[in-house]
């Protein structure tokens, strides 16, 4: 229970950043949410302070932080721009530095550091969470104190071992993650620094010759947060409108190839996919037995899938996913945010591949699984909640394009959330498809920033392309749903008559009917090559007559007959031997 809550905490942090458009509101909502949280769990730790909400408690001892000259200069610029311009354009890319250090934060930090060195999963997770919580209380409008400030506090406790040095890198990662969470598009300086820090973290891990050198252990939730944030920051950066001045500074910073290369190298280093046989031979460089490498490699696969989806390469994304064991107790279930992310991209990739029935299956699976989790844990983080809503929207699209049986509870929630929309979708209302698609799809990106490639000057181009292609597909299907609803009513009907009912030309109807068949063939399951039609209604044309095969009724007839026989059998056992 405790662990799960902590997970959510980490996920929640990113949510603020993920929510670009509603940055301001998002911030407030989260603060309220933290207040409730504090009330539930941290009440005894912080006493009455929590009741004051976001206000920094006054009865807490604090020390001023001496800012570096660069920080002072930047802060003055910020204050000037705030005075000149009330709307605060500068503000959206900049966070003022922390100016005070509070005793509780110091305590949490020292505790965090000590636990980190103890390498105990549960202790680290608790202090990871507590540290975040205290930061949200004390630094709700500014950046976190830099690591140098904390190092001064630690003094002799910092021993400059591998573990200690790595902690410094990880703290910096948290610092930038916090920055990205509060500011939707941080200034280029922060992006560059954050990238360098990720490089340092990954390079350290990749350069290790044996797993024994790497004397660290991190809880799964934290590892997931690191990889997930890495891709999130890449995604944020790719959506940037770069200025000419900025471009000159960049070489490999947040470049798609570099991002993918890191993910690849981590997967390779982790050896999670290498054959078992080689493991026994060199036990000294078996990185897969090191939990940090193993889980980092695993989460990198999932993040790689995400990057591939963002770039529009759905075949490769689905192929990458085949590497992962999708069993019920698979490793992705350890961290809820990871579980949800994986299935969201899986469902989306299937949708874009026209495999609507596979998409429905995937979405149904995850939605059943999160529904059961909600019951046991009173709340869900906003971040996960939002993804879940998006998945319901994707499911609505799938159900409209290719009706399929889904879990009853999921179906009820679907109708609650998108019932009216679903009806419009089924009627073929393109504008509703567009609305739901733009709500639920990830923002696809160009592999190379358009300002660098010179091919198109619009950063939204990739995303618009995906949507245009998807809507094109929907348009092709639009009359098909109407035809489906008509032919359900008949067992045979002539082309002439149906064309009359639909008020279209008989020739055109023939084309549409052929198209209906073609589209259904397109919707294939995994690896199936045979023509296979799973929709409840099917038909064939015999010259000018349409013969309809309604499997829905067929099933009912069968089940009636079977039930009669079954009950008859159970009521009168003597029939059996008579």
């Amino acid at each position: 229970m405790q662990n799960n809550n902590n997970n959510r905490k980490g996920g929640n942090k990113q949510q603020q950043g993920g929510n670009n458009n509603q940055q301001r509101q998002g911030g407030n909502k989260n603060a309220n949410y933290n207040k409730q949280q504090g009330g539930q769990q941290g009440g005894n730790q912080q006493g009455g302070n929590q009741q004051k909400g976001r206000k920094i408690p006054t009865n807490v001892e604090s020390f001023p932080i001496t800012l570096t000259p660069a920080q002072v200069q930047q802060h003055q610029q910020y204050q000037q721009s705030m005075q000149n311009n009330q709307s605060g354009q500068f503000q959206s890319s900049y966070l003022p530095p922390a100016q005070q250090l509070f005793t509780p934060v110091i305590n949490y930090f020292v505790n965090f550091f000590t636990n980190f060195k103890s390498q105990s999963h549960s202790d680290i997770l608790v202090s990871y969470d507590n540290f975040f919580k205290s930061c949200e209380t004390y630094y709700s409008n500014c950046a976190l104190p830099t690591i140098d400030v904390f190092l001064a506090v630690l003094g002799d406790k910092y021993e400059d071992t591998f573990t200690d040095r790595f902690f410094v890198l990880l703290y910096r990662e948290i610092y930038y993650r916090y920055y990205f969470a509060l500011v939707s598009q941080p200034n280029i300086g922060i992006c560059v620094e954050s990238w360098r820090n990720y490089s340092a973290i990954f390079d350290t891990l990749l350069e290790a010759a044996t797993p024994n050198e790497v004397e660290i252990d991190l809880p799964n939730a934290w590892l997931w947060d690191i990889v997930d944030e890495f891709v999130y920051q890449y995604h944020t950066f790719a959506k940037f409108k770069l200025k000419k001045v900025d471009v000159d500074q960049l070489t490999e910073i947040w470049d798609t190839t570099s991002v993918i290369r890191y993910l690849y190298l981590i997967i390779k280093k982790s050896q999670i996919f290498s054959a078992n046989s080689s493991r026994f031979e060199n036990a000294t460089d078996d990185f897969c037995s090191h939990p940090v490498y193993k889980m980092l490699g695993y989460y990198s696969v999932i993040s790689l899938v995400r990057v591939q989806c963002l770039l529009g390469d759905y075949t490769l994304a689905l192929k990458t996913l085949e590497l992962i064991d999708m069993g019920k107790k698979a490793m992705y279930t350890y961290v809820t945010a990871c579980h949800i992310t994986l299935y969201y991209y899986l469902g989306f990739a299937y949708l874009m591949s026209r495999k609507y029935n596979e998409a429905t299956k995937a979405l149904n699976t995850i939605l059943v699984s999160v529904a059961s989790k909600t019951k046991s844990q009173n709340f869900q983080s906003d971040h996960n909640e939002k993804k879940i809503d998006k998945m319901y929207a994707l499911l609505a699209i799938c159900q409209a394009l290719y009706p399929n049986k889904i879990d009853e509870n999921v179906n009820n929630t679907l109708k609650e959330k998108f019932g009216d929309k679903l009806l419009k979708l089924q009627k073929g209302d393109i504008s509703v498809y567009e609305e739901l698609y733009s709500y639920s799809s990830p923002r696809c990106i160009n592999a190379v920033n358009p300002h660098l490639s010179g091919h198109s000057s619009n950063a939204l181009d990739a995303h618009r392309l995906q949507m245009a292609l998807f809507l094109e597909e929907v348009k092709q299907q639009s009359l098909l749903t109407t035809i489906r609803s008509y032919i359900t009513l008949y067992s045979t009907i002539s082309i002439q008559k149906l064309a009359g009912l639909l008020q279209i030309d008989p020739e055109e109807l023939r084309i549409k009917l052929t198209c209906y068949k073609h589209k259904n063939v397109n919707v294939l399951g995994k690896g199936e090559t045979k023509y296979h039609n799973q929709v409840d209604i099917d038909f064939y044309i015999d010259q000018d007559m349409i013969h309809i095969d309604n499997r829905l009724y067929a099933k009912e007839t069968d089940s009636f007959i079977n039930s009669i026989l079954k009950f008859e059998g159970s009521l009168t056992p003597q029939y059996n031997w008579m």
């Binding site: 390469d313 759905y314 591949s353 010179g454 292609l469 067992s491 064939y540 010259q543 095969d549 008859e568």
Partner: protein
């Protein structure tokens, strides 16, 4: 440093392989190792070469082509529109697989609307909507399509595939029109589809007897006789 140089040399020797000199099996293996290194722009030239081989020898490897397209995506300055046109044509030949769709997600929308790619997107649209007559007119109007060996044959096979899952019987003239064949050609074409396709005078049966779908909302006398005792009681 030395290792790096060695690696570079090794890479260079890989790129020096003469594709045409290899037999089909070795070539495929070579291409597979090549695309494993899928973010190295140096392999693009080889993949373009292999694309021409795919066209001339009527073979097909989707992964090789999608890797090439990805390299263009990552290195826009190397983008080669003619190569994209060729791989799109190959993907149309592989209908009803969604290869064309997958590729189009990765092609910048601006160049999709210009030649040489526009004609391929137009044809894709016609085929996706099963407007086969218009599709044939479009194919016959563009010499690009006839320059690709077996292109029309593959498209015809796709169309007859769709028709045979849609129609039980179809009139000969209609079939002829949809497949763009003359009266003498159609007879020969149907004979290649034996025994599933059969001519009966003016109509053609496209589905074999045993695959005929039965009407489903009826039930057999056998089933009925089993539940009759219940009603009699």
């Amino acid at each position: 440093m030395e290792g790096e140089q060695q690696q570079q040399e090794q890479q260079q020797s890989i790129l020096d392989v003469d594709l045409l000199g290899l037999n089909a099996e070795d070539r495929l293996e070579y291409i597979q190792t090549l695309i494993a290194d899928s973010y190295n722009i140096a392999i693009a030239k080889k993949l373009e070469e292999f694309l021409d081989i795919q066209i001339n020898e009527n073979i097909y490897l989707f992964q090789a082509n999608s890797t090439l397209l990805k390299l263009y995506q990552f290195n826009p300055s190397s983008l080669n529109k003619d190569a994209i046109a060729k791989m799109l044509a190959k993907s149309l030949m592989n209908f009803p697989c969604n290869d064309f769709l997958f590729l189009s997600y990765m092609i910048p929308s601006t160049i999709q609307k210009e030649e040489p790619l526009l004609k391929l997107f137009t044809l894709n649209n016609l085929l996706e909507n099963c407007k086969f007559k218009e599709a044939w007119a479009h194919i016959n109007n563009n010499s690009f399509f006839s320059s690709i060996p077996s292109f029309t044959d593959n498209i015809r096979n796709f169309i007859s595939g769709v028709l045979s899952i849609t129609y039980q019987n179809i009139s000969l003239t209609m079939l002829q029109e949809l497949l763009n064949l003359s009266e003498s050609e159609i007879k020969e074409y149907i004979s290649t589809k034996q025994p599933t396709w059969k001519i009966n005078d003016t109509t053609v049966s496209l589905q074999s007897e045993n695959s005929k779908q039965k009407k489903a909302d009826t039930f057999t006398f056998d089933q009925l006789s089993r539940i009759l005792p219940t009603f009699i009681k």
